[in-house]
């Protein structure tokens, strides 16, 4: 495809091209400030790669802005944003499987243990936790993250992941069971901070 020339942009700017965003700047910035951190955390957990999370964060918000939709509530709007992000992660994973792009790693991206002394133990524990979470399927990881790290309601999780609200309870139960089993099998693991 041919590249855009400066003349093209100039011509269209001269014609006062209107950029069609449904949301105005003030509303967008407020929404972004409320959701960007949690979305980044979700993307980082789902991809296992902070760099990929950076890119997907921008892409998610851009696609959200380009959408012409009316949301009933803040949680509905947020669920829609997370759904866009979930689909982007899924697409990235599919492309990676086909070998067209650099793979989004499934695990062990952040295993840099630089801490020493008292911090070393905490770092090892966090690494164990990450490894345990990385052993889950993407959907299981997403469910647990949305439910416990983000505190999303079941309806919001259902909207985000495209599953029935009634199924969330059961899926969450299974994912929780699985992760709890993995965590309990880690040597020296203390249950839920109870030591």
């Amino acid at each position: 495809m041919r590249d855009l020339t400066f003349t093209d942009v100039e011509r269209l700017e001269a014609a006062e091209l209107d950029v069609p965003f449904e949301m105005d700047e003030v509303a967008f910035r407020a929404f972004y400030d409320r959701t960007a951190r949690s979305l980044w955390g979700y993307l980082a957990k789902m991809t296992g790669d902070p760099q990929a999370a950076d890119d997907l964060l921008q892409e998610s918000f851009y696609r959200f802005l380009r959408t012409r939709g009316h949301w009933e509530s803040e949680s509905h709007r947020r669920a829609y944003l997370f759904r866009i992000a979930t689909n982007l992660v899924r697409d990235g994973r599919r492309r990676a499987r086909r070998g067209h792009t650099v793979a989004l790693p499934e695990s062990d991206q952040s295993e840099i243990l630089t801490a020493a002394g008292d911090h070393a133990e905490a770092s090892v524990r966090r690494t164990d936790l990450r490894r345990a979470m990385d052993r889950l399927r993407p959907r299981e990881r997403a469910l647990l993250w949305l439910a416990y790290a983000q505190g999303h309601a079941h309806t919001e999780i259902a909207d985000t992941l495209g599953v029935k609200t009634g199924s969330v309870k059961l899926l969450l139960f299974r994912a929780r069971r699985k992760l709890a089993g993995i965590l309990r099998a880690v040597p020296g693991h203390s249950a839920g901070g109870q030591s």
């Binding site: 091209l17 965003f21 902070p50 839920g192």
Partner: protein, 172 residues
């Protein structure tokens, strides 16, 4: 039927997220968690997830909302400009492909090899007789190769044009 949730899950989660678990949690909740497998799993998993989450902010590189808005505006403008320029691109591609098709058709029609091959073919299928039977003017009968050349040019155009247009307007 297997029980997949517990009515006290929210209380347990509240104790976890508010930082009361385990030291400042009510004895009632602690006692419940000790006997309820579902809530024990909730404690195990939610505390792990929260620990991982609280470890993430150090890695965050989130652009400000102003930067994000500006980038979105720029990108939308570029996409709109590209969209607006698309008909021009398509017209340029169609013109180029037409030129190629006409050139190919003319070159083939003018080549002596083509005249020989076409002459043999027309004799084989008795196309001249068929055209005469349909009442075609005699000029057309003798200039049948022109029609064939046009058909070849058209064929080339039909094959090349969609591919060229697709390549010209495809996003990736």
């Amino acid at each position: 039927m297997k029980t997949v949730d517990c009515c006290r899950e929210d209380d347990v989660l509240d104790a976890l997220t508010s930082g009361r678990w385990p030291d400042r949690a009510d004895d009632d909740i602690k006692g419940h968690v000790a006997t309820c497998a579902i809530c024990a799993d909730v404690v195990e998993v939610a505390s792990a997830v929260l620990e991982v989450r609280n470890d993430e902010p150090g890695e965050m590189r989130i652009p400000s909302s102003a930067v994000m808005w500006w980038r979105a505006q720029m990108r939308a403008r570029q996409e709109a400009a590209r969209e607006a320029a698309r008909p021009i691109t398509v017209a340029q591609v169609v013109a180029a492909v037409t030129l190629v098709a006409v050139t190919v058709g003319a070159l083939i029609a003018l080549s002596p090899w083509f005249a020989v091959v076409l002459g043999g073919w027309m004799a084989d299928v008795e196309i001249t007789a068929s055209l005469a039977a349909l009442g075609a003017p005699s000029g057309m009968l003798t200039q049948g190769w022109v029609l064939s050349a046009v058909a070849i040019g058209l064929g080339v155009w039909l094959v090349l044009a969609p591919v060229a247009i697709y390549l010209a307007v495809a996003d990736d």
